[in-house]
Symmetry: C2
Amino acid sequence: MAAPAVLERSRLLVQPAIAAAVDRLCVELRRPSRYHFGWTEADGSPSSAGSGKGLRPALAVLSAEAVGAPGATAVPGAVATELVHNFSLVHDDIIDGDTVRRHRATVWSAFGVEDAIISGDALHNLAYQLLLDEPTAERVSAATRLTAATAAMIAGQAADMAFDDVTGIDLEACLAMEADKTGALIGYSASVGAVLAGAAGIHVDALEAYGRELGLAFQAVDDVLGIWGDPAVTGKAAGNDLRERKKSMPVAIVLSGHDEAAEQLGDIYDLEGDLSDADVGRAAAIIEAAGGRDRTVAEARLHLDAALDSVADVGLVDTAVVDLVDLARFVAERDF
Amino acid sequence: MAAPAVLERSRLLVQPAIAAAVDRLCVELRRPSRYHFGWTEADGSPSSAGSGKGLRPALAVLSAEAVGAPGATAVPGAVATELVHNFSLVHDDIIDGDTVRRHRATVWSAFGVEDAIISGDALHNLAYQLLLDEPTAERVSAATRLTAATAAMIAGQAADMAFDDVTGIDLEACLAMEADKTGALIGYSASVGAVLAGAAGIHVDALEAYGRELGLAFQAVDDVLGIWGDPAVTGKAAGNDLRERKKSMPVAIVLSGHDEAAEQLGDIYDLEGDLSDADVGRAAAIIEAAGGRDRTVAEARLHLDAALDSVADVGLVDTAVVDLVDLARFVAERDF
């Protein structure tokens, strides 16, 4: 089955359960949450904005199928993952000052910082509530693993924020941060279906490793798109990551070169006040010329290969592995 | 044992475990967290500021002793409660715009809103991580109950925020909000030791009811102190709740009277811009003259009595019940 079909199939399976979970919130929390998921407009009227790619639910569903269980086994884990992922988006948008996500105003810019904080808190807590509603051994294991993945995600975001004040960020530091910030929860997604199916440790570990590596590939692609992506596709302003002076992979690669390109890029990041379109364009050109873009693309391919290796020949169900491979390629080769 | 001694004894038992839990966070998250708990200054140097009364840990410890278990049984539950309580304080201070707590700058005003958001998220998650580290049946039960108590707490905070835009708040609506915002987590604290000891449902329920009622009594006292408390004792500016136009119990009682006092108080709350000291003083005088203070004190006594009734004659350990009664009186009769 091709990747878009896998995403669509998982969405149909998981989306109603996410909606049911969010409906458990009181009205004050439900409104910004439903808006964030793209189901409603800020005034509560229906919206067809949509909820993003649905990569994590698809990985959860495939991870159940990869150990011979029905995809439906993964649903509580898929929902919990989406709740944690989306709580982090709502809070990160405040932290990063991002006003636009998925072509729409972010929750804080539509509802205010206060409502965005409390709605994110509610989604975070709901993830654990949902998993522990019926505390079977498998669900408890899924909840326990979620505490670790979420702790890593939060630590990664904190490290990312700290990068603003540090000059010596290289690719290694950047990858370590992104392994926590993005890789941990994608690794969780890609194994939680197997955990809920009570699968053997070797299979859970292989799927989690696949997800962690895919997460890094995904993040490398995201970092490229954050500079050179088409705003019509990414839903964010062109050169957004540069405008925010993020030390993403392409930037870290160039800055750690300690050469003329590093100096020029450092000078732009050190400018007072907001960066102009011309500054952003110049920074992008410096990074591209210094090989920051090519090396980030190469990094994406490296981690994609590692992801595919993780699920080869470990005794997982063949058809599901084919889907996992397709999905990984789809995610890590988009838009190049 | 007198209440201050019970608080001190529990603090000695629980505080090191809280510190050990917070030490699991990465340095970026540890610094604002340790500052918030009063262990360090903002620059990381040691502080003797202290961490508040420690009511919740003391309740947790007594709830274990009340079912015949050692107080130490309660420790993971006491720590989880403190982590959730303090995550909510860090986030609520941003939401309410409060710059001072326990005589010190709040986390967001010392470290910035961004660090306060992410540190709160980390403390929230750590509570579940800690309980699920060793997922025994009792700890899983404690974690499951924590999801419900925390969901109620968040819903209560959301309701409190929504009160700003609603005119028809009466005492009943106010109590319902405060039962969620404050009562649920104190009810959890006052029963989690019994849950971790594997106690019978009747004992857990009695202790939880005690805690919920004590929470309402505590909140009623807090609402009185929020208007008439001595800044040297409360650590907040005089008349703080009025300045922030909170619809706390004394205010809700007067506003729902639909008489001249209600109109005068409503007019002050409707003034444009910040309220002056004179406005705040006038509002306090109106509420006191209209009986808002006396009726809130009466409400505190009512819920204190209900709390004491909950733990009487249900077969709990007598000495622990004596301590629970002392502690409830200490909390609900402070500063009158």
